[in-house]
C-alpha cells in the first residue's frame, strides 16, 4: 500500500448562517491534496468558483480522509482532468490500472509532469471513476485484460539487496540474460 503523496479528502462546508439565510445549503466535495490544510484551501478555491461564498464568510463542517475500500483488487481507473499548458487550458481523459485510487491519481500526476510538463498545481481533477474492463478506451490498459496473461521479463538487472551493499566498481560484467 505505501504512503501516497496525494490523499483523497471529503470536505463538507457551507456559508455562515446570516439573519437572511438561517440554514444555508451544505456542499460536499471530494478532492485530492497532500494534507488536510491544503485540502481545505482547495475546497474554498473550488467553491468560490461555483457558489458565492468565501472562506471568510463560510465554515468547513467536516473533513475526512477517504481510504481505499478494496486495496487488494486491481481496478481500471479513468480520470478526467483539466490542465493548464503553456498555451491554454485543456481537458483530458486518462486511464490507469492500479489497486487504489490514490495510486492511480499519483500515477496521473507523474505522467502529466513527464509527458506534458504540467506541474501538479496546474491540474484540476474533474472526475474519477472505476471503469469496468469492457468500457476501457486505451489500448495500454486493455492489453492487460487477459486472464491468461503471460510474458517474459527480458532483462535481469542484478541489484544488491540493500543499498548498503552497493559498490561503485565490480570485478566482472553482469550477465543480464534471464
Amino acid at each position: 500500500m505505501g504512503n501516497f503523496r496525494f490523499h483523497q479528502y471529503q470536505v463538507v462546508g457551507r456559508a455562515l448562517p446570516t439573519p437572511s439565510d438561517e440554514h444555508p445549503k451544505i456542499y460536499r466535495m471530494k478532492l485530492w491534496a497532500t494534507n488536510e490544510v491544503r485540502a481545505k484551501s482547495k475546497f474554498w478555491y473550488f467553491l468560490r468558483k461555483l457558489k458565492k461564498v468565501k472562506k471568510s464568510n463560510g465554515q468547513v463542517l467536516a473533513i475526512n480522509e477517504i481510504f481505499e475500500r478494496k486495496p487488494t483488487k486491481i481496478k481500471n481507473y479513468g480520470i478526467w482532468l483539466r490542465y493548464q499548458s503553456r498555451t491554454g487550458y485543456h481537458n483530458m481523459y486518462k486511464e490507469y490500472r492500479d489497486t487504489t485510487l490514490n495510486g492511480a491519481v499519483e500515477q496521473m500526476y507523474n505522467e502529466m509532469a513527464s509527458r506534458h510538463r504540467v506541474r501538479h498545481h496546474c491540474i484540476q481533477i474533474i472526475k474519477t471513476a472505476t471503469i469496468p474492463a469492457k468500457l476501457c478506451k486505451r489500448e495500454s490498459t486493455k492489453q492487460f485484460h487477459d486472464s491468461k496473461i503471460k510474458f517474459p521479463l527480458v532483462l535481469k538487472k542484478v541489484r544488491p539487496p540493500t543499498r548498503k551493499l552497493k559498490t561503485t566498481y565490480k570485478a566482472s560484467r553482469p550477465n543480464l540474460f534471464m
Binding site: T72, K73, I74, R97, F144, L153, R159
Partner: protein
C-alpha cells in the same frame, strides 16, 4: 534462445529487494507493465514491482485472483515448499543462511571438519599416485 520463465498467473517468485527480502510469493495477477499483484500464505495480498522479483521455475495452477484458501491448497498440491528446498537455488540459500548464522565455536568446528576432509582427500590422492607410479 527462447525464454523459459514467464510472468504468469501462478508463477512463484523470490523477493530480492526490500522489506520482504527472501520471501517466496506467487504472482496472482498482473497490474501493468511493471507491477504484479503477489500473494503468499502469510502476507496480505499486495502489489510488487517486477524489479523486486526473481522468477523461479516453479509454477502452480491457480485461476486469476484465487481466494487465500484455494491459494494455500494449490501451493500444497504442487508442494512448492519442498520443491524449492530441493532445488539447487533453494539449497544454496539455505546453506548461505546457515553459514551466516554460525557462531565462533561453529566456525571452529567447520575448520576442523575441513582439515579432516582435506586430509582424507590427500590420502586418497597419495594412494592413486602410488598406484600410477608403480
Amino acid at each position: 534462445m527462447p525464454f523459459k520463465r514467464y510472468v504468469e498467473i501462478g508463477r512463484v517468485a523470490l523477493v530480492n529487494y526490500g522489506k520482504d527480502y527472501g520471501r517466496l510469493v506467487v504472482i496472482v495477477d498482473v497490474i501493468d507493465q511493471n507491477r504484479a499483484l503477489v500473494d503468499a500464505p502469510d502476507m496480505v495480498r499486495g502489489q510488487m514491482n517486477f524489479k523486486r522479483l526473481s522468477l523461479t521455475d516453479i509454477k502452480i495452477d491457480i485461476p486469476r485472483l484465487p481466494k487465500k484458501k484455494s491459494l494455500i491448497a494449490a501451493m500444497e498440491a504442487t508442494d512448492v515448499k519442498n520443491k524449492w528446498e530441493n532445488s539447487s537455488w533453494g539449497r544454496k540459500l539455505i546453506v548461505q543462511k546457515r553459514r551466516a548464522s554460525l557462531n565462533d565455536f561453529d566456525r571452529f568446528k567447520v575448520m576442523l571438519a575441513r582439515i579432516k576432509r582435506g586430509g582424507a582427500i590427500q590420502q586418497e590422492l597419495a594412494k592413486l599416485k602410488k598406484q600410477n607410479a608403480s
